[in-house]
Every structure is written in structure tokens, then in C-alpha cells.
Amino acid sequence: MSTDVKTIPQAEHVAPEGVKLPVYMDNHATTPMDPRVLEEMLPFFMEKFGNAASRNHSFGWAGEEGVETARERVAKLVGATTKEIIFTSGATESDNLAIKGVAEMYREKGNHIITAVTEHKAVLDTCKRLEKYGYRVTYLPVQKDGLVDLDELKRAMDDKTILVTIMWANNEIGVLQPVAEIGKLCRERGIIFHTDATQAVGKIPVDVNKNNIDVMSISAHKMYGPKGVGALYVRRKNPRVQISAIIDGGGHERGMRSGTLNVPGIVGLGKACAIASEEMAKESCKLAGLRNRLRDKIMGQLDEVYINGTMEHRLPGNLNISFAYVEGESLLMGINDIAVSSGSACTSATLEPSYVLKALGTGDDLAHSSIRFGLGRFNTEAEVDYVADRVVETVSRLRELSPLYEMAKEGVDLKSVKWAAE
């Protein structure tokens, strides 16, 4: 006897009213620029093209004015002073500058650095490089909810520890590390605390003083600003933190980052921060509402769907879900009019599933089945409803195609099956 499964051919999808296809829901990768940011940047390409370091003519002064206004706006958003903000080419450079800069400056004090396994590659690979230069690095595991264990962190600290670098908000699962507590532990021991706050700044309240931050990476394009620009906060007092430059040259940015300033980009970052200062509180409520609506619609219609990471301490716009028995890339193919990301190996160059999900103890099978939804400023309720419907429909279709789903429904324990290795 043979059972045919009538799989519904994938139809051309018509966007419902108010939804423009494709839907962008990958705001952790990058955000579209806010038109108000672009407007602010435009004069700095042609009219006010001056080099901000040109001190003796009005072209330079106009550039400098743009940069200093931006510096004030960035500083205000994170509770810093203007002298503590260094402009860079983005968060990857900021992470490199923070970690390498502190490592070099405090080499005589110690050679131990603590980070976590779920950090961004900009942090992990920088730490790995420092290991080659004789530094010792502890990569803290995370708990099932994605958060580091503070006791574990305490135990890892020793008299040679010079730096702890732990991200604020995770780029895949959106979980928020207890930075204030981490900062406190560091402060008590005279250890510098750097946090990669790329995903956090502009999304949730960030205050470097309340949260005991010493050094912090910031990116513009994750908060509706332009790509290729970011900043590094470096604390000036209580304690004063010093960092060695990694790019040498004309001594720009208080000697910490040489190179002609990207004036239009910096102006854009400043405007993005100004908008966030004004609108963040309201926006995060809206995003959390949309995110929860998406979660409820999906989970209300599908079984065996798992959320990765804690929902309690999480970015408002993040949802990371594993759909058991469905492989992530095939799911992305089915929802090809929606831009999201998958933790599936097939979407990465390495054929390894997401190391972040694996660090939570998520099995490789579920890591392969994960989708990251990143909601942002311009997403609407109509889009959320459309995305939820398409996801439910596609997961259902692929489960009909899935031998694993069939086996699970027959009561086979998939863990007990002896799988032939590829």
C-alpha cells in the first residue's frame, strides 16, 4: 500500500493590502536607513565636503561642526561625554580597537582576557589572534537561556585578567547579558569591561554609567544609519581607560584612530542616535508587540516549535525559533518573499550550524531548523500577519515532505535511531 502525499505546489504569493513584497524582517543584519538620516547627511557629500581636520578654513569648520554635533548626539544616547566617543568604520573595527587596544596598553598588568562563546566573530576572532601573541583567553559557556553565569565569570577572573568582553545583545538570539552586574564585578577587581553593544544601542536604554561599562562598540547601520561607520566609547574617568591605537597616522580621534573622518557617515550616525533618543521608548513597545504577535500566531498554529534563548531578557524586535523536522534553508526557500536569516549550516560557508545555538545546548538538528526574525522600525502589523501565515504554510508543507516528522508521528524516538554517517 502506498500513501501519496499531495504536496501543494508552491504558489505565487499575492501580497495582501498594505504589504509590499519582499518583506524585510532581517533587521539584525542591517536596517534600512531612516529618510531623516539621509536628509541630514546629504549636504556633507557636496556642499560641506571639507575635511574635519582642516583647521584653517570654513570648509574644514563645517565638517568639524557636523562631526562634533554627531559626537554630542552619540554621547547623549549612551550617557557618555563627547570626549569619550571615538568614531570608527563600524562595530568590527570598534571591537578590534577595544580588545587589541586594551590588550596592548595593559600588557604589563596581565595577559588574561575573558569573553563568551556566543560573541560575534569580530570579538572571538580578535581574541583568537591575541592568543597567538601570548594572551590567555577564557571563553565562558552560556546557560540554556543564552546568558552567562556570573559565578562562572567570577571564577574565571584572576590577578592576570585585564579585560572582560561580553556583548550586550546577541545578534542571533537577541538575549541581553547582565552587563550592569558584569561591569560591577569587573570594577571591583580593577578589570576593564568592554561590551559589544552593536545590537543594543538605539533599541534599549543604554547608559554607560548605570551599567558600569568602560569600553563599548557602537554601529550605525543597525539603528537606521549608514553602513561603514560606528563608534567606540572609551571611559575617561572612574576609571580612566587608555587604549593603544591599531591604525596609525595623522593622530585623529585623540590619537586612538587615525584616518580622515567619514564626515557624512558620522553625521548620519549622529542623526540616527538623535532619533533613537527621541523615539526608542515608544518604538520598543511597538516592536515587542509585533514580535509577540508573530510568535503567538506561529506557535498557535504549529506544534514542535521552540524559541531559542530567554524571552525575558531579550531585544524587543528579536525572535529566533526552531521548527523541528524542517531544515532551515528549505524553509527560507519556501518563504522567499520574506527576508530573514537561518542558523542552518546550508546558509553558511562553513556547513556548520549556528555556533550560538549550539552553545545554548540546542541540538544540531534544531540548530539547522532555526529562523531568526528581526523586526524593525518600518515593519507593520500587516507584514507580521503575512509572514506568520507564510511560515505556517511552508513549515506544514515541508513537514509533509519530512521523513523525520513522519517518524516522530509514528512514535519513533529519533534520538534512538542509528543514523548512517554521511
Binding site: 502506498s2 508552491q10 531544515e327 519556501g334 544540531d364 538538528d365 539547522h368 519530512s402 543514523w419 548512517a420
Partner: protein, 137 residues
Amino acid sequence: MAYSDKVLDHYSNPRNVGSMDKNSSEVGTGLVGAPECGDVMKLQIKVNPQTNIIEDAKFKTFGCGSAIASSSLATEWVKGKTVDEALQIKNTEIVKELSLPPVKIHCSVLAEDAIRAAIHDWKKKQEVTKPTAVAAQ
């Protein structure tokens, strides 16, 4: 990643999706891959014991679009062939037909493995059932 039109076609309209009775003596079942690796294929064939011709084939696949397309194509190709002919199907032919990029070659390998595993399973059943068939005569 850009998919070839043929991969997209098999993904959107997979052929021969379904299951056959794995306990039937005429049915051979191949289950290859592993969930941890992101690909599991189940391919089943129904063979006419008189002619050794594969009269029907069904599949179910957990995997990426290329894995689904490779197994869907494999069921199309084995149908109507004798088991010995089906054993001649090479993964490289699947790669060519679907224009798979290098990172997806493992999908075609898995499909070839699935065909072999299904035929192997069927052959094993024939060894077991033959003596009883003789005894029944």
C-alpha cells in the same frame, strides 16, 4: 544562494512524495543521512519480482532545497529501470541535471546513497523470501 530553475521546480513541485509499506517484500527502503548533518532522505522503491523493474518510487526528505530536488529527481530516474540499471545512476549525473554548485554536491551523493540503500534493502528481503517461496511451491 541562487538556485537553478530545475531545483526550484523540484522544490516547488516535488515528484513522488510519500511512503510505501516498508514491511512489504516488494518494497525496498533506504534511509540515509542524519538530522545533525541537516539532511535525511528516505527513498523507497517497489520492485516487480518477476522483471526486477522498479515500478514505483517514493521519497521524503528533510534537508535543503537541493537535497529535496536531488531525491525528487532520483525517484523519477529510478522508476521504470531495473534494479541493476538504477544502481548505475551516479551522483555526478544528478549534479549535472540540477546544476548543483560545489557546496551542494553532498546532496547528490546522499541521493545516490539513498537509491543504493533502498535497493540493498530490497535485495536483502529477496534473499530471505526466496527460500520460503521455494518451500511454498
